[in-house]
Symmetry: C2
Subunit: 212 residues, 2 copies
């Protein structure tokens, strides 16, 4: 049990990146210390909740001052494993896949997309923002040979399960799924649905409630 990571409530996990963005902002603005009263006030949360959330990362604060912003940032990043680059493959170089490849920001979140895959001959062989597009047939084998842990899924929903199977066949550990589909995977595979539609549901329902 000594080396086992405490399991964290998902709501906490959802809030940590929010704190991180705020912390980086104030760090850039020159603040070196911050209290939970402070964070909570800005983000409209309860200070105790922020303290409980931060406690999961193991950081210690000082009464009367709060936390060292720089230390807090790197503690959260460590906690999320965003300080270690993890190699990832992306499958489906369409509208969304290209946008993700074109986004430089993921390295800041520990994600290093080293290859993309597609079944469209017009796309195979090209490079999108320095990432080579390879034929889908090579996916399983390359996951295995390169020990890739994370697969990003940006194919149409109808193809999602098929590609998932290929990823699992290659030994993938985690799938970041952007397709509006519920993937069937064995127990031990981590799946996170990026869920545009989930987010949109919250928006549209709240708007409907608001407009009575």
């Amino acid at each position: 049990m000594i080396n086992e990571l405490k399991s964290v409530p998902e709501p906490t996990l959802r809030r940590l990146p929010v704190y991180l963005h705020y912390l980086k902002d104030i760090y850039k603005a020159g603040k070196s210390e911050v209290s939970t009263t402070n964070i909570a006030g800005e983000l409209k949360l309860d200070p105790t909740q922020v303290r409980k959330d931060l406690a999961y990362t193991g950081i210690a604060g000082k009464p009367k001052v709060g936390y060292d912003v720089e230390v807090l940032i790197s503690t959260i990043e460590d906690f999320l494993n965003w300080n270690n680059l993890t190699d990832a493959f992306l499958v489906g170089v369409g509208n969304l896949g290209m946008a993700i490849l074109g986004y430089n920001g993921f390295k800041k979140y520990g994600l290093n997309i080293i290859a993309a895959f597609d079944n469209d001959p017009a796309k195979i062989g090209r490079e999108i923002h320095n990432v080579p597009v390879l034929p889908i047939e090579k996916l399983s084998d390359l996951i295995k040979r390169m020990h890739i842990h994370i697969g990003i899924l940006t194919v149409p929903a109808t193809e999602a399960q098929k590609i998932t199977a290929l990823m699992i066949q290659g030994g993938i550990e985690a799938i970041w799924n952007f397709a509006p589909a519920s993937l069937k995977v064995p127990e031990e595979i981590v799946v996170e649905n990026a869920g545009f539609t989930t987010s949109l549901a919250v928006l549209t329902r709240k708007l409907a409630e608001k407009l009575k």
Copy 2:
């Protein structure tokens, strides 16, 4: 109280679109009735939870059989207001903005993007997938004149607050924010963070826990 919409737990709201995708799949496959035992089994949830979630939409099921798939689909869609098209503006025609404009799917979710805005002269005046790109200076005024309720934010995080202010000035009701930034808005404005990073945090942490 008679016309007031019940406020729904957010976890429920998050699961409803998941049910919807599954329901559409089995409907296409020819199934006309489905039980919560069934749904829960496929999606690895608790049947009671599925029943409680569905109860929020007001639908009634039949003992021994379950629910009528077609009715259930449209009941959930009504509940989320996805059967009524709502006009929306998008701001920030970059990698992600273009991908969203290129995605035909949002109409299925009640979202009708009728114009996009940018401050890059190279983009202004163009049409991306039949959506005109207009100068950012016109944003506030057009929101007001066209009574736009939903704004989609896909500008860099550094610009997010500025554009938010413009939207609010125009009288926007809800903002779907894709930038990694916490927007400051008045109480009554609905903000939903699409949160790539939030989703990624859940993924990377679970993976870290798994790999010990």
